[in-house]
Symmetry: C2
Subunit: 153 residues, 2 copies
């Protein structure tokens, strides 16, 4: 009876992880499926979904719910960080916010919950969409890491 940790990093799972690491736009499972198929055309959708599950379980990826209507997104950046999502084009950008680190403790004291994780979600208009009068058409599919704001102090 081995515990749930003895998962193998198969070629498919590795491929999914690679794609995820190469993406900075927080792709959904469907996005990832499409991208992986350009490399491993024979992979099945179920395998992608299962692989994502495995990666999340083993701590190699994060599953995000950015609060837009969109399905779960995935992130290979497993450090604690926050996100800001554009209401117009849906683009999601990472942010590292210097939040008071007693936040979890405060919350815990206040609710009795044993806090294990937390994140902040911001919504608004991205610079591009602020510029364009018509808040439509996304800036583009998968732009490289443009606009990732990570100042630490």
């Amino acid at each position: 009876m081995s515990d749930r940790t003895d998962r193998r990093l198969t070629p498919q799972r590795r491929a999914v992880l690679e794609v995820l690491r190469a993406s900075s736009d927080h792709p959904t499972a469907a996005d990832i499926y499409d991208r992986v198929r350009t490399v491993t055309p024979s992979i099945g959708a179920a395998t992608v979904y299962r692989s994502l599950g495995v990666l999340v379980e083993s701590g190699l990826a994060l599953e995000l719910n950015l609060g837009d209507g969109v399905a779960a997104r995935y992130d290979a950046n497993t450090r604690r960080h926050d996100h800001v999502v554009c209401d117009a084009c849906g683009r999601a950008v990472d942010v590292d916010l210097p939040v008071p680190d007693d936040l979890p403790a405060t919350l815990s004291a206040r609710t009795g919950f044993a806090i294990t994780s937390y994140s902040l979600q911001f919504r608004g208009l991205c610079p591009t969409c602020q510029a364009s009068t018509s808040h439509l058409s996304p800036p583009d599919g998968e732009p490289s890491a443009q606009g990732v704001a990570n100042a630490e102090a």
Copy 2:
């Protein structure tokens, strides 16, 4: 050509809103459908979904994505507030956290986004689930507003 604001508060929409206001457990659309039917048995699922959409659009309700696998939840509490979700039983509790109010400004300066809203999501174990060794069975269906922590300072 009237704008999208001339929506009527029909009996069905009112019923949905009532149910939502009577619920403190952040029900999903399906939950709400079930509850509304106890009062208005003839209502259709589509109407509930459409009503929720209308209520959200008109600012009478909030659509939440609490990051658990669960579908969107709804909240009649439209004030800005945060949530903590139990990883074991899925219970979601409101919290009003005194976050530095320059947070949006900081974010905006850092990313160029025009921030319109934000919220904090915490995850962990609720008191009940911490107590029970086996992190299973939800505390209960729709407990009244037990455990809502709203200290303001």
